[in-house]
């Protein structure tokens, strides 16, 4: 593309977008497109690695060895998702170390859902079922995102997420068919995770600031409210299968429209948590920063060792 002028590059970019094609790392792209993607992919990666904490919190206490193995594998998958999302961000000209610094200094965010605590084993089921369920609804359209590396990363992530979602549902299904205490644990988890899960789709369309341009660029394919509706329609029948009550008195099925009607989430809570005022914001970031700082001497040692080895090889 370098032989083309800026204007020609932008024409070619727009033509690719208009034809629903893929933009690749070496293609010309507007600055705003690049910046938007860096922010979105980095924050997506941050969400994966911060998301390891609430679930990792239960690995040591998982109530059976089979569940322990499944949970370990799941949290490990999230680390893997973080790795390929950071790699996708790097194709846009940033370093993983730099975007991690932006996370650690609070300049970039991660999904607010991970600022809620996991209080019982049933929360591990609820996260898999609801949070991964919402993530899938958000991410499936991203498999057709206009930026190639992000779209391809999402194909792989979505496959694993749908596996996680089934595992989460199965945890709750087992609890709901177990003792009364186990069933109560499952209901309590749904009560606490339902509204935060609905808020994973972001502010209502009437208040969403980034959506319009992202839609035009083929990064975003559906509005927040469309995706939220899709999630509710998918999830409520599953709650019925579990025999759990969705904690929304305004919930009803609109036969004519073929959709569930539901109450508006309390978005002031979402804005508060995004601003840093959620139950676990401080802890999640502090844990992440501590792991990073505790590991600094290890990363320095690895770099020093690699340098020594390279010198030895050069001398040989």
């Amino acid at each position: 593309m370098s032989h083309l002028g800026y204007a020609a590059g932008m024409d070619s970019f727009q033509a690719t977008i208009d034809a629903d094609g893929r933009i690749e790392p070496r293609d010309a792209m507007p600055d705003g497109y690049r910046k938007t993607l860096i922010r979105q992919i980095a924050q997506h990666a941050h969400s994966e690695i911060i998301g390891m904490q609430p679930e990792g919190n239960w690995i040591s206490r998982a109530p059976s060895l089979r569940r322990k193995a499944i949970l370990m594998a799941k949290v490990q998958d999230e680390a893997g998702h973080g790795l390929y999302l950071y790699a996708a961000a790097e194709t846009l000209g940033v370093d993983r170390a730099d975007v991690l610094d932006l996370l650690h200094s609070g300049k970039q965010k991660y999904s607010s859902i991970f600022n809620y605590p996991t209080l019982t084993w049933a929360d591990i089921g609820a996260i898999g079922w609801l949070v991964d369920g919402a993530a899938i609804v958000n991410q499936v359209p991203l498999c057709r995102c206009s930026y190639g590396p992000y779209a391809r990363a999402m194909v792989r992530v979505c496959k694993e997420e749908s596996f996680h979602q089934r595992q989460g549902f199965e945890i709750l299904y087992t609890l709901c068919n177990g003792t009364p205490e186990q069933k109560a644990m499952a209901q309590d988890a749904l009560d606490r995770w339902w509204w935060p899960s609905l808020m994973m789709f972001g502010p209502p369309d009437s208040a969403s600031t980034h959506s319009e341009q992202s839609m035009a660029w083929g990064i975003k394919r559906h509005s927040n409210d469309e995706l939220r509706q899709r999630f509710v329609d998918m999830t409520v029948p599953q709650a019925d299968v579990l025999g759990l009550r969705v904690p929304d008195d305004g919930l009803s099925y609109d036969e004519e429209a073929g959709h569930y009607r539901f109450s508006e989430p309390d978005y002031t809570e979402l804005y508060d948590v995004v601003k840093g005022n959620g139950p676990c914001n401080q802890e999640r970031l502090a844990h992440r920063v501590k792991a990073h700082e505790d590991g600094a001497w290890v990363r320095e040692a690895a770099a020093a060792y690699a340098e020594k080895q390279a010198l030895k090889e050069a001398a040989a």
Partner: protein, 246 residues
């Protein structure tokens, strides 16, 4: 209690308690690649534990499952090495432990491949490939840390030294392993273990650890003070709901 039951528990408990400690690194490792690698290693250890505990339950014939054995035995009934239960310490401690333990497991499983007990040789057949990776991973890190920076060298040395007094227990023989012809007498592994481990330590530029004291007791169910807390965490949900399935 038959010898084979006890022997399977020993190996299974080593793997289970190691998995519990390894898993503590997930979401706390020095870099994301290491979260993935330690996740892999922990999953391998947990897989070995599950197979061995299931087998112990079958051999015992009292209807106990892997979960009954993992969640409903008390501390004095656990037969793992004390090395496996010690708190993680820093990353250098973790890699020192992995080098010591995985090298031991590698030698043990290589011998166990020849066992006439099909179940034990089957476990070994799968595990021997897994622990080869664990040994390699630990070796690479011991070399990097030992010959990295001044700080990492000191930390690596400290890790190797701190855990050395827990290594002799791996090789202590007793009447059970001598009686049980399908078992490996671990005392036969010590020379080769020492040769392999010291080769790595030498290359890492660290000094060979020495100790006038060696801990023991794990195989008789005598543990360190850390073990009770580890089990409290591992077992508490299952024990709060006796009879429940998960």
């Amino acid at each position: 209690m038959t010898d084979l039951f006890v022997y399977s528990l020993r190996l299974g408990d080593d793997a289970l308690i190691s998995a519990q400690r390894t898993a503590e690194w997930i979401a706390a490792a020095p870099q994301l690649e290491e979260d993935v690698a330690l996740g892999n290693i922990g999953l391998d250890q947990l897989g070995q534990a599950r197979t061995l505990l299931q087998y112990a339950g079958t051999v015992e014939g009292a209807g106990r499952s892997e979960d009954d054995l993992a969640y409903f035995r008390d501390e004095r009934e656990f037969l793992n090495l004390q090395l496996c239960e010690l708190p993680n310490g820093d990353f250098a401690h973790a890699m020192a432990r992995l080098l010591y333990f995985a090298t031991y497991q590698q030698l043990l499983y290589e011998e166990l491949l020849k066992s006439s007990d099909e179940m034990l040789s089957g476990v070994a057949g799968k595990a021997v490939k897994e622990v080869a990776y664990h040994v390699d991973h630990a070796t690479q890190w011991v070399l990097r840390l030992g010959d990295g920076t001044e700080e990492s060298h000191q930390r690596m040395q400290a890790g190797l030294d701190a855990l050395w007094p827990y290594t002799a227990e791996m090789f202590s023989s007793d009447e059970l392993v001598q009686r049980l012809d399908v078992a490996v007498d671990p005392s036969t592994l010590q020379d080769e273990w020492t040769r392999r481990v010291t080769a790595v330590i030498d290359e890492s530029t660290c000094g060979r650890p020495e100790s006038s004291y060696q801990h023991s007791g794990g195989r008789e169910g005598r543990h360190t003070e850390h073990m009770g807390y580890l089990l409290a965490e591992l077992q508490h949900v299952a024990r709060s709901h006796p009879g429940a399935t998960w």
